[in-house]
Symmetry: C2
Subunit: 242 residues, 2 copies
C-alpha cells in the first residue's frame, strides 16, 4: 500500500507521501510517490500516486517524456492552459496506460492506480484533484478540502478533527506528521522516508521540499510528543462512571 495526502490551505498546498512499495510482505522497496513539474512564474504541478507501481511509473514516465518534447504533437504538462486540463491530461494518460496493460481482457483491477494532483497555473487559482483509477477525477471543495490515497483510515481521524484551512504551513506540516505517524505505527505497508512538498499560493514556484528520514529529529519529536499529548488529552476527559 501507500499513504499520500494533499491539503488545500488558504496559504497554498501541502503534500506528503510515503515511499514504500510492496509485492508481498517479504518484497518491499523504496520508491518516491511524489513527482513535480514546474516552470517558475508559469506553473507548479505536483502528482502523488498510489496503486500498481507499473501503472504509476508508466503514467509518470509518459508525462515526463512528453513534457521534454513539447514541440511534438504530444500533450505536455507544460502546455496545458489550466489545472483542470492538466487533470484531464493525466486522467487520459492513466486510461492509456491501463488500456495498454490489459489489452486482452485481463482483470484491469490489478493494474489500478489513483492519484492526487495539485498545483497552480498562471492566471488560475491553486487547485487540488483526485484522479480515479478509471481516469476521471474530482476537485476538492470547501467541504472536502483534502484528499488521501492509499492506506487512509488510520490517519483520517486527526485530519478530520484538527484540519483548518486557515492553518499556517508550519501547523499543516505538523498535522501531516501526526497523520503519517498514526498510519506508520499501524500498517507495515506504509514506510519511511516520507516526501514533503509545500506550495505557496500565487508564488508559481516550488516551495520547500524535504525528505523526512527515519532519523529526522522533528519527526521523532512529533511521534514521541504525540503519544504523550494523546495520553494527556485522554486523561483530561472525565472518566466513565460505572
Amino acid at each position: 500500500m501507500t499513504y499520500c495526502v494533499g491539503l488545500k490551505m488558504d496559504r497554498g498546498l501541502v503534500f506528503m507521501s510515503d515511499t514504500r512499495t510492496n509485492a508481498g510482505l517479504d518484497n518491499i522497496s523504496t520508491f518516491s510517490k511524489m513527482h513535480t513539474w514546474s516552470k517558475t512564474g508559469d506553473r507548479v504541478i505536483v502528482l502523488l500516486s498510489a496503486g500498481n507501481l507499473a501503472t504509476t511509473q508508466g503514467v509518470v514516465s509518459l508525462i515526463e517524456e512528453r513534457a521534454k518534447a513539447p514541440d511534438e504533437r504530444q500533450p505536455s504538462v507544460f502546455a496545458t492552459p489550466s489545472m483542470f486540463q492538466t487533470a484531464k491530461l493525466i486522467g487520459d494518460t492513466v486510461k492509456e496506460v491501463i488500456r495498454e496493460a490489459a489489452p486482452t481482457g485481463q482483470n484491469a483491477d490489478s493494474f489500478a492506480a489513483s492519484f492526487i494532483l495539485g498545483g497552480q497555473i498562471k492566471g488560475g487559482e491553486p487547485r487540488l484533484f483526485y484522479i480515479y483509477p478509471e481516469g476521471n477525477f474530482i476537485e476538492c471543495s470547501a467541504d472536502t478540502p483534502f484528499f488521501q490515497i492509499g492506506e487512509h483510515k488510520y490517519g483520517k481521524p486527526i485530519l478530520v478533527r484538527a484540519y483548518d484551512p486557515a492553518m499556517t504551513f508550519e501547523d499543516a506540516v505538523k498535522l501531516l506528521y501526526v497523520s503519517f505517524d498514526s498510519t506508520l505505527k499501524s500498517n507495515l505497508s506504509v514506510g519511511m522516508p516520507l516526501d514533503l512538498q509545500l506550495y505557496e499560493a500565487d508564488s508559481l514556484k516550488l516551495g520547500t521540499h524535504k525528505r523526512v528520514e527515519r532519523t529526522d529529529p522533528y519527526y521523532s519529536t512529533i511521534s514521541d510528543g504525540w503519544s504523550e499529548a494523546l495520553k494527556r488529552a485522554f486523561q483530561s476527559l472525565p472518566a466513565f462512571e460505572a
Copy 2:
C-alpha cells in the same frame, strides 16, 4: 460493517460493540452484536460478532438452543470445562453453519464471520479469544491484549497509544468511547447505539451492561471533549520550521 472491541485488563474484561448491519448503504438495520451466557458463580461468556448476519445469527441461535437443552448430547456453553473448550465449541459451530450455508461449493467468503469471545469459567482465568471465519482461533497475550473485529482501522491508533492493562474500568470505557467515536465519525457502516459489557475478574457474574444511545450524555461529553482535547494536544506540539 461492524466495530467490536474486547479488552483484557488486569481488572477483568471490557467489551463494546456497535449495532449497525447493512446490506448496501440504503438498507441498514439495528442488531445487537453482543451475546452473553452466564451462570453466577460458575461462568460468564461474552461473544461479539462481525460479518455475515445470517452466519452470526445462525451461530448464536445454535449455541442458544443447545444451551437450553444441556441434557441432550449437544455441546452446551454451560458445560464446557474451560474457556479454551468454549472457544473450540464456538469455532466448531461456525464451521457447522458455514458448511450448511455453502454445501454446493458456493463461495464461502460471502458467508464469513469473525468473533471475539471472552469470559471466565470457575477454576480458570479470564480469557479473551479471536475466532476466525474458518473456525480456528487465537488467544490474546500480554503483547496483544485486545482484539478488534470489523471496521478496526480508524479506532486503532488511540487503542495502541492509550491502552494500559492496569487501567481502571472507568478509564477503559472512556478509551472505548473515544475509539468508537473516531470510527463512527469516519465510517457510515458503524452506527449507534453501542453495547457495553464489563466483567470483573473472578466475580463469575456479569458486570455492568449499558446500551449507549445517541443521546447518551457521557458519550456526548467524550465526543465533544475529545475533539477539543485533540486540538489542544495538537497545539501543544512544536510547529514545523520550514
